[in-house]
Symmetry: none
Subunit: 216 residues, 4 copies
Amino acid sequence: MPRPRFAALDERKRVAILDAAAEEFAHRSFEAASTNRIIARAGVSKGALYYYFDDKADLFATVIESAIGRAERAIGGMASFVDAAGFWAALLDLYRRITTFFAGEPNLAGLLKSAFDDAGVGEIVGLHTARLLAAFRDLLGRGVAVGAVRDDLPLELLARVAFAVGDATDRWLLERWDSLEPGEFEAYPERALLLHMRVLAPIELAEKWERQETAS
Amino acid sequence: MPRPRFAALDERKRVAILDAAAEEFAHRSFEAASTNRIIARAGVSKGALYYYFDDKADLFATVIESAIGRAERAIGGMASFVDAAGFWAALLDLYRRITTFFAGEPNLAGLLKSAFDDAGVGEIVGLHTARLLAAFRDLLGRGVAVGAVRDDLPLELLARVAFAVGDATDRWLLERWDSLEPGEFEAYPERALLLHMRVLAPIELAEKWERQETAS
Amino acid sequence: MPRPRFAALDERKRVAILDAAAEEFAHRSFEAASTNRIIARAGVSKGALYYYFDDKADLFATVIESAIGRAERAIGGMASFVDAAGFWAALLDLYRRITTFFAGEPNLAGLLKSAFDDAGVGEIVGLHTARLLAAFRDLLGRGVAVGAVRDDLPLELLARVAFAVGDATDRWLLERWDSLEPGEFEAYPERALLLHMRVLAPIELAEKWERQETAS
Amino acid sequence: MPRPRFAALDERKRVAILDAAAEEFAHRSFEAASTNRIIARAGVSKGALYYYFDDKADLFATVIESAIGRAERAIGGMASFVDAAGFWAALLDLYRRITTFFAGEPNLAGLLKSAFDDAGVGEIVGLHTARLLAAFRDLLGRGVAVGAVRDDLPLELLARVAFAVGDATDRWLLERWDSLEPGEFEAYPERALLLHMRVLAPIELAEKWERQETAS
DNA sequence: TATGAATGAGATTTCATTCAT
DNA sequence: GATGAATGAAATCTCATTCAT
């Protein structure tokens, strides 16, 4: 946990440190990241970093927490639903918000990747990633209750696979970012959702849904 | 590229270096990996490393190439096929071999992860991973030709997503390795294949296949 | 010298600072001691230390002075005497008080050690330790006057040796502190005194005294 | 333990490192000593030190071991003896050699001091100091056997006190080094021995011996 | 009167790489 | 052909001290 002073720090400087650290941790593993580069980019002294944080791990955890926190607040939760169709509609809506947010935070994806890579090692970071996974697992559990999500595979596995699918499609999109045709980005969440349905929904539901989709 | 001398090197020593490096690169990112630890583990001299390799990156690329090469030779290609059912049967067979091989090479998964992480940075490593992806993309292309694989999404995207799904299920399995019930590991390729079908096959095919599967 | 403000400081805080510093300086040399650890333990601000003290050396000198001062006040001086027997009886009495006081101040021994180590370097601390030595030297001089202390060796040397003997026996006792049998601690001053007599007294006196002691 | 390479190192450089380290450790506690100062004084690179030693503690232990080893080899053991007079004659002879050796190695005393201070903390250094103490304790044990050493106090305590007395007299002498009158240094071992007899011998023996000494 | 934010120097240790032999 | 001695830069982190408020 960062020392309380950090919260009281001048907004500009606080953001400068977190941004510089996010930039660094988004592009390098925790081990390979350099506090020297971070302070150089943030424009703070060597001592300052250790005045606000216990150590490198503390800074890392803080950056991850901040990123996840901002994401959660910005994206918000999933709308309530009472049947399978409602579940998938709500999930589509959620995906839209997620996509929009990630598009405006280029470091977020890399940051989450570093976080999940380090989750098995760093205790604090592990808690954050576990919480994120648990939230999604719960979501899937509620999907099962209304028949929107298959019940023949462990929720934990489904959650992990869904995360991976989302990550892979994100990256694919990101690499083509500059050569996207107009409208392609807007269509993305829907296409991503269909992929997720394939993985998560009972097969008949996915089949029915996709048939309708194609017809329209 | 490692100097030609490396190929002529005593088998035992060559393997020792590659094994030690694989162990290191499997657990740490390229940047965070330490050549010091590698030579210590391999029991070779400092100079030896730089006598056989240009630098750390060269060693990394060689390790990746070697790992991928060994995997390809051990796993072999996919059997030929003439229709959709044949494609999936052949793919199942391929998965079985892949799973078996990965189970015997605990470093392989971590190594591939490091390789893909670094692919965007290191030129050589990028080529290897690109080749792997291309091979799988071609496979999918042949699947499309016989109607086994959907044609409504770019093959590149499908390949990436399939890799991600495979990776996620692998990891999930790996974490439960010690608490697996007997028979569970043997059943794994089939379950994994079903997940892949969901993503890769035309939806009607996936639905039909799964219905049969459940019936049996 | 600490700023005058320090004397006017709230009792609780003044003691907190001195105690924390004593704890630190008792376990580490002056150079290795950390003002950061001191203020952390004392619960005072960084600035406070430098508001009350010139620098680390000033704090050290103050701690030493305070410790020595408290010891002197608590232990008191040696009773007056008119002959050799009186001298040694008075010294035994003094040792009893010293032992009792040291037993209740676990930091004192370590503190004095740090003080003597630093005495050659730090000017102020050197004065305090010199004063302590001088007091004991004077004591020995009065012992010489009544024939209780040998006159064939320089008083300065005798004082130093006596200090060393006391320190060694103290440490020896301290290490066995937890495994002491009942009564052993109470008997300690007398045994220590006999050792000191051996060193300090004319040999005939020491011999006579010990013969009586053994007889009783 | 220093890496084997260190033993194979060029004599001049090996000595330069050990001397520089001895100089530093003789004047500062282990914690306060600076490897930076050591390499600066030795004229070796920063990496070199860690090429030869595991860490600071390893260097310290090596310096201590080297110093003790050289001292032991140079001073040699105590001559054999069959009665009390022989014991003290042999000890006097030993003291002479010790004094001579210490006089030529100005760092030795400070080094031993640092070693004993750190003995409770550093494992390796603890072994060396313990060995030294044990050797002296054994010596005293043999003295007890021939009636040269008192048997009414624990040997461990006697050894510690004797060390302390020796150290105090050494220091006292050292401080007066430059103002010593001719012959004073040569007379030192005898005076020191008398002090040790006072502490270590049965009182009658010490008394008899000193009476003779004075008569002569 | 009192604070705590801030810092640059310096601590120990590891790094990838070079080069004389 | 092969080595290991050697290095300076960089790593993370702590230091005693200053100063604006």
